[in-house]
Every structure is written in C-alpha cells, then in structure tokens.
Symmetry: C2
Subunit: 339 residues, 2 copies
DNA sequence: ATGAAAGCGCTAACAG
DNA sequence: CTGTTAGCGCTTTCAT
C-alpha cells in the first residue's frame, strides 16, 4: 500500500521483507497450509505493507488449474436467461471459482469460443444456450474439462446434463388447461427446434392427441414477446374455435395476450384461458397475472454446478442427467385451480 | 486430436514433432511474428495432430497480462442491467478480451471481489453497480489497472466514468410532462441514494421548484416493479391532486401503473400521465406503452470499453468523463408529443 | 528465419 | 514447521 514502485511486487520481495523463504509466503496465502500462525502473520504484514497480491496466472501455471468456470449463454437479456446467469455466477463463486462469461449471439461460432475457454484451463464449463457439436464435446472430454449442458436434452450421452422433463411439462400444461374447463385447445411455439421449448410444445400436442382432443398449432418466429405479439394475430382469427392455449414460453404468452387484447378485446380467462411456461418475473405482473409452469432456475443451476463439482472431483464418474419437474402456478389466466 | 495421452501436450511436444524449436511453436501462434509461412504451417499441422493448445496461463505469466476484463454488476436479472452486461460482454470480446463476470449481491463485499480480479492481472475492469471505495480505486491505479465506472457520478475525479446527464434527464422529464399538459406533478424514486436514479429524480424536483410548480414526492423501497406496485398505493391516495408523475425507472413506473389500474381503475394517460426512465424492453409492451426516456445501453457500454482501451494504450492519459444524454420516447402514457 | 538460454511468479516435493 | 531445489509452459532477447 505504501510503496509506489514500478515493478510489481512478488513473493520474493515479501519473503525478504518478512525474513522468510518464498515457500513461506506461498503457504501464508494457501488455505490449510502447514505454517505457524506467527509466521503467517509476519508474512501477511509484510505483504500488506508492500501491497503484494498473489499472481493467479503463476499459481495456475504451477497447479495446472485456473479456478475459472466458463458460462456460455445466449440471449442474455431475456428474463429467464439472465436469472439463470445471475444464479450461476453466484453459485460458481460460492464454490470458490470465478465465472468467465461467454455470451453467444445468434451467428456466433460457439466452437471457437469454447475453444478459447479451454486455453484458460477452465475448471469446467456450463452451457445454457446452443448445443455444442459432438466434436467440441469430445475435445472437452479429452482435456478432462467437465462440461454440463442445461436444457439441451440428454440424448447425447456424452456430457452431464440438467433439463426439464418435457414430457411432464406437456402433460402438466394439458392438465392445467383441461381441469379448468378448456376443451378446445391450441399451442403456440417457435419454429426453431429446441429441446426444452419446442419439446414441451410437442409433448403437449402429443398428450392432446392421445386424449383425442384436437389441438390447433401456431408457429411463432422465435420465443420472444414480439414473436408472441405477431402470432397473436393468427390466434385472434381462430378465437371462435379455441378456449385454451398453451404458450411455450411466458414471453410468447404475454405477447399473445397483448395482441389479443389490443385487436380483439379478449378478456382472460373468460374469453380464453392461457398457460405459459418458465414463470419469469413479468408473468406475475398485474397486467398479466399469467398462469404458468415454474421452471426453477435456482434448482437447475445448483444441480448443474453440483454435477460439475462432482466431475471435477471424480472425472471418471458416470455421466449424470438431472431431470427437472415443472410446478403449476395458478394465477388469473385460468379459471380455476385443481386440488 | 488423435492422441489420447494423459499428459497435456506442450509446445515442446509440438516442436519435436514438427522438427523445430519451441520458439518456433510460440511464433507460429503469435500474430505477426517473425516466421516463414512454411514453418508456420508445419507447426500448425503438428499442433493439430497432437491436439495442442496454447496455455494462456503460461503465456500470461510471461507477457504479464491476461486478456481478461472484469465486469462488476449487481441485479443482473434486471432488464436494463442484463442488457448492459450482454452488450459489454460482446464488446469486450470484440476487442480481443474475455469478460470475467462478478455479480454483486446486495450484501457482498465488492472490495474483496474486485481484489480477486486484480489477482488475475485483468487488463481492465468495468463497474456498473455499487461504487467501489476510494481505497480500492487507488489500488487499481497503483496496479495500473484501468477502471471505468458506469453511472456512478463523476464527482470522484480518480477514475474514468460514463454516466447519464442527470440534469438533462430531470429537465427532460419535466418538459415531457408539462408540454403534454400536466401541471400538478409528482415524482417517485427510491430512498437509496444513487447517482443516476435518485439523481434524476432530484433534478426533476429541482426543475419543478425553479419553475414554481409544486411537486409531490413518493419514496419507494427500491427501484423494482414490486416497489412501484407498493408505492402505487400512496400515489392512488393522492390522485385528485396530481395529473402527471415521473417515475425514476421504468420498472417503478410499471408497478405504479398496475397498482393504480387494479385499485383505482386509473386510465393512462387520461386520468394520469406518466413518464418513466431507461426504456427497457417491457416499457414498449402492449399493456404499458410507457412514455419514457431512453438511456442507450449500447452507447454507454461502447463508451466505457473505449475509455478502457484507451487507458490500456496510454495509462497516463487524463481522466475522462462521458456524459450521456437521454432521448424522449413518446408512447401512450402521455397525451401528446411536442415537436 | 531460426535456435539456445533465461526467466515470468509461483507451488510442491523433499529434506531437515 | 521451515528452507532448498525444481520445475509449471510459455515468450523473448540474443546470437547465429
């Protein structure tokens, strides 16, 4: 703190000042190292005076590990995603790692970025956006870098994963709608195939088929509010033939609702019941009060970080898959809750 | 790619395989190094075959710099903040750095985290949440680590900053409201002092005073939707004495609106005009159509990253302050726009 | 254009 | 409990 030297201060400087060896300096800054309390204090004092701080690059080089953990996420400014990332960052830190963030834009080459992360000797990577190619997944395995995929499906049995149970999701949506009296159903979901989003929509449609209830399908451009607003126009045209709609994301649901209110003066749930999915914060806002299915971001991220830690401890561990259940949230866009 | 050895492959292995020295391997992976095209290709080929990748820790140790840039952000799951972070991450990457993310929770000790970042020899830090203490700011300067503060005010002339012009913001809100016919004004803002948020509210109140128009003040618990919903109860009680309200954040505004609609059946803008601030995505949603003032996250972040880069290039550069202007966005919660 | 040699700052055996 | 001795994997003069 006091010095204002040009050269950065190293453990050597501290050692000299404290009158000990460099090893002692290292030990003083290492949890549970073999060092007497007296020496440690002496070192810490000298370090403080010199304004010393451990160089993590050097430490990492020696120990062969940075304690960096990569987070790969796209659409970071989407409510659900940003919540995931916030929780993930906090959780990663509380496990003693530092999150290094890779935000992926639609046209980005994940391979390349993921590859860069590996250069940093990351302790692990958590991916919650596009699915990396098998090639890069292999590369992670080769380097023994734990990789966990969130909501990318568990079909590929080569990485640990955490995902919602799309089957259960689809059936739950069906149940929520039918038990509150809806019988002429519809579903809106994006075109782009995605394990969790289109997956639950399809599961819903399948459930309808297996129960012999017809279901109208509306395909949106993507899973955003704007896309919901757009497709809402089509839903409006079919208003006389449906009384309940499942939207694959809350954002989509809110877009649909606003469009329907604006152009058809629809009242919810009287004119139409709607169920969303995710339970983002906005779903609870007064203007929507959307009935939905909660995808617990906290549970999901905790599971992912836990899987990662476990694999760090034991790289040979068998591949794990965590299946997450959604829970129904009844608000004001469905007529009644069931017990 | 082919090997499956236990030991990580190093530049030494590649060198041997390519029949050159380790220096050549290094050069092959360095932009614009002095190496013949032929040698480079030979090395690259050997590297590919071995599955070699440069160890950034070792490189960083040698060159004394990681190309990591820290982002310190709180309330990451707030719409405006997550947008900032997404843009910042993209921008940092496009400048050739990697973003390392520190999410700060209300009770966290920023000092400590910031301090950890310094251990990584970060090339720079961008802070967009709580203001670091002068002590840590000093520490950054001592270590010659560029630090730029977003929306923390420029009072402290010891770090580069980017912030909105609170004065202009307050006056703009006043103008938007009065020019569309509101004359009995109110402002809602959080208690916690914050440069940008409470700053603009105060500037608004000051402007009112200087124009001799009375202004009712409502203090919310924080700047969230929920806090807006709460304080909306108080606004409702004063409905007969106000016709225009400025909410210090869009979130607050939307909370207030929903409460007012729910409990007092208020119609906007007929019964009350409202202006928010930030222009988050939700402000444009059909249920709100909030008139607001846009705080351009992109412009803000680009400026911050630019300042950082410039300071990396030239550490002795004079301290810079970028003052951002807000632009009015007229939607449906004000009666008219002015030309 | 290339190779040899000397570290970057730290930790981890190994002795004592 | 402490000091000595070797590197970790890379870049970088400095010769050639």
């Amino acid at each position: 703190m006091t010095e204002d030297s040009e050269k950065p201060v190293t453990s050597f400087d501290v050692a000299r000042r404290a009158g000990v060896s460099r090893s002692m300096v290292s030990r003083a800054f290492t949890e549970g190292a073999n060092i007497s309390e007296k020496s440690r204090e002496k070192v810490l004092k000298a370090a403080e005076e010199l304004g010393y701080r451990v160089n993590f690059m050097a430490r990492g080089l020696q120990t062969r590990q940075s304690n960096l953990v990569g987070i790969v996420a796209s659409s970071l400014d989407t409510p659900f995603r940003s919540r995931q990332v916030r929780i993930a960052a906090r959780e990663i830190i509380s496990h003693g790692y530092r999150p290094i963030l890779l935000t992926v834009e639609p046209d980005d080459d994940i391979e390349q970025w993921l590859s860069v992360m590996l250069n940093y000797n990351v302790a692990g990577v958590i991916v919650t956006s596009a699915t990396p190619s098998p090639k890069i997944i292999q590369e992670c395995r080769r380097l023994r870098t734990p990789l966990v995929l969130i909501n990318r499906g568990k079909n590929q049995d080569i990485a640990d994963t955490v995902q919602i149970d799309v089957q259960q999701a689809g059936e739950l949506a069906y149940t929520m709608l039918t038990r509150s009296g809806a019988g002429r159903l519809a579903v809106v979901h994006p075109q782009t195939p995605s394990y969790s989003v289109t997956g639950r929509a399809h599961a819903f449609a399948d459930k309808c088929s297996s129960e012999n209830v017809e279901v109208k399908e509306f395909i949106s451009a993507n899973q955003s509010y704007a896309a919901g607003y757009d497709i809402g126009g089509n839903v409006g045209l079919a208003l006389d033939r449906i009384d309940g709609v499942f939207c694959a994301t809350d954002l989509l649901a809110m877009g649909v609702m606003d469009r329907l209110r604006a152009d058809w003066n629809v009242r919810f749930p009287d004119d139409l019941q709607v169920v969303g999915c995710d339970d983002i914060e906005q779903a609870g806002w007064g203007a929507y009060q959307l009935s939905t299915m909660r995808q617990d971001a906290e549970e999901q991220v905790l599971a992912a970080v836990r899987q990662m830690s476990e694999r760090i401890e034991n790289p040979e561990m068998e591949i794990q898959h965590f299946n997450q259940m959604l829970t129904p949230i009844f608000r004001k866009t469905t007529l009644s809750s069931y017990d």
